[in-house]
């Protein structure tokens, strides 16, 4: 089985932290999502595009093996095939916004869910609900959560996954915007998990879930 090395489409920021390569196009999407003037329909459109880019890049981190096929013209083509045994897990509520992006790339992938809410008084993240595929401990997990501000929610979610037998190194956290603080605390807590994001910036669009689902 070939191992994944980093590629030009994303940069490595420290061990196990990857950021999509910044292009004008990516910056535009990030700008639209931050702009207070953006309409909800534009917001959803751009969010979906950004999610798709993150998901596509996330899938590049999955294991594969070589495969040779014959083309319709009768010639051989040396390609690769992806290993089976992956699944997605979304952290409710805003992580669910990323499910469609994953579905659009992997039509029949299994998707688990975790509901985590912060206690109003202690700001402590608490797990209310979790439902995973039965054999999750054997799978690679694409954990989806768009905005990491403190990182507490993601840390809790990884904790839950580990309690269900998932190896930390088998978890890939897909997110859109991450603060440097969250990167630090998540990697300290779970050093073997990989984080993939589109941007590390002190100000993250905290309104993401509300605007995406229209509950603002």
């Amino acid at each position: 089985m070939a191992t994944i090395t980093s590629n030009k489409a994303c940069q490595d920021i420290g061990p196990n932290v990857r950021v999509l390569k910044s292009t004008g196009q990516l910056r535009e999407l990030q700008t639209v999502l931050r702009d207070v003037e953006t309409s909800r329909s534009d917001f959803m459109f751009c969010a979906d595009r950004l999610i798709r880019l993150v998901v596509e890049e996330g899938l590049n981190q999955l294991p594969y093996s070589p495969l040779s096929v014959t083309t319709p013209t009768g010639y051989g083509y040396d390609g690769i095939t992806f290993e089976k045994g992956n699944c997605g897990v979304s952290i409710m509520r805003s992580g669910e916004a990323m499910e469609q992006g994953l579905r659009d790339c992997c039509r029949s992938i299994r998707i688990g869910k975790i509901l985590i809410q912060s206690e109003a008084d202690t700001r402590e993240a608490k797990v209310y609900y979790a439902k995973f595929p039965q054999d999750i401990e054997t799978r690679k997990v694409l954990l989806m959560y768009p905005i990491l501000s403190s990182g507490n929610t993601a840390i809790q979610a990884v904790q839950v996954l580990k309690e269900h037998g998932v190896k930390e190194s088998n978890i890939l956290l897909l997110s859109l915007f991450v603060t440097p603080h969250a990167v630090k605390s998540v990697t300290e807590e779970h050093p073997e998990m990989t984080i993939l994001t589109s941007e590390i910036h002190p100000h993250v669009p905290l309104h993401f879930g509300q605007k995406y689902f229209g509950t603002d």
Partner: protein
Amino acid sequence: MRTGTVTRDLKTNNMLHKCGVPLTPGDSCANCRLSNTNMADTAKEASFSLSNSERTSRSSSQGSGSASGDDPFGDQMSQGDHQAAMRRASRTRTQSTSDIKVLRTSKRTIYTAGRPPWFDVKGQFKEAFVIGICGGSASGKTTVANKIIEALDVPWVVQLSMDSFYKVLTPEEKELANQSDYNFDHPDAFDFELLFDTLKKLKRGRNVEVPIYDFTTHSRTKQQHTLYGANVIIFEGILTFVNPEVRKMLDMKVFVDTDSDIRLARRLRRDIMERNRDLVGVLKQYDKFVKPAFEQHIEPSMAHADIVVPRGGENEVAIDLIIRHVHSELEKRDVHFRSQLAAAGQGQPLPSSLHVLESTPQVRGMHTIIRNRETNRDEFIFYSKRLMRLLIEQAMAMLPFKTVKVKTPQGSTYEGMRFNWKRLCGVSILRAGETMEPALCAVCKDIRLGKILIQTNLSTGEPELHYLRLPKNISEDHVFLMDATVSTGAAAIMAIRVLLDHDVQEENIFFLSMLMAESGVQSVAYAFPKVKILATAVDPEVNDKYHIIPGIGNFGDRYFGTD
């Protein structure tokens, strides 16, 4: 009621015959006139010189009876038995000099041959051949023009009439015109500046907008004719040889010399019967303007003519001579394009204008699936679409952006980026390029889409342009030109040439393709070094059937399930 500038193809001419009225120049029965103008309309709509969407919904609703709804030729075919009969007639008699063919496959029929390459391997246009036809009023210029078009038997002929370039009249002049006191036969009545520019652009192969002159209001209508795609231009009018600048552009000058009595008789009949004018007025105008103008301006210009045709359209010998000359001129311009292309640029390093999608595991994995001949159509479509989406995202990232500051809902300011281009549009090369449209629409909301149909002529192997519809005012847009696979690059070069002919800037063109052969990359980059080429993969070879090796098979057939 002159029809002004109308591109005529065989259909139009056949239509004239259809009426059963012997066509003496400049006259026709009421029936014939009616069907003639109707047909001219249809021809106008069908001709792809009318590329812009100035047309009404009429053409799109006008699917032909025989063709299925998605047939790209649907609106090239006219309706009704009348036309069907005419089409059959045109099929049986177009086998002669040109290579107009009827291609019939089990599912589709193509009635017309497309326009063969009108440029060389460097993508440069060889000037169109311009035939100037001059002659007095009602001398039979139009008949001669029609006979030339008919005998030339190539679709890529455009007819330009001087009538389109009458100046717009002031209210006082209009009053004079209504009393037959305005001189329409003097050079001052024409807008020679516009005429010169239009003819010059047309000769260079550019897309032009020709005004439509309304003889009842003596002004230009809001609509314009779009003319594009001429290898031969027939330019006729009473004063075509008068302006020396215009004269220089004429490659062949034909003067139609008809006896003045006959011309007066025709003019009387036409003006009184068709334009509801009274005898006195017509005669007054003739005496005061038409006759003096002929003697002063038109008759002397005969000295510039290469050929003088006595008796006008009846003169078969003269027309035959003209045709032979034009054919020999056209042959000089003929190129064997594809074979030259396949040889060009072999062994060179790949050009810097090429941007191949980075070969990530996903890209390679998807290529493995869609290249595999065992892959079913469902999977083929799914993974093709995913790849296209990545390709288009990559192309979007290559557009220009500028730095902006925005306010966030949290109250802070964020320095980000916004696009810095006027407008983006997509143009797909039918059929396989169309498969990339959904991916483009998924990334760009409300994007305008154009279509170009280019097919390979099975007997010559040359690409031919069959159909063209581009968004309006495309010249300042950035254009994503899309085709699924490129082997020699012949179709790609033709499509890029079409865009350039519509004044799109070369550096604003992005050519997007799923799979290209190196030879195709080389020839496109050789012809148009400023065009940015993007592909999800580039294969090294093309076999003698122009198939890409190892390739992906026929992309369109696999995608649409027509294999």
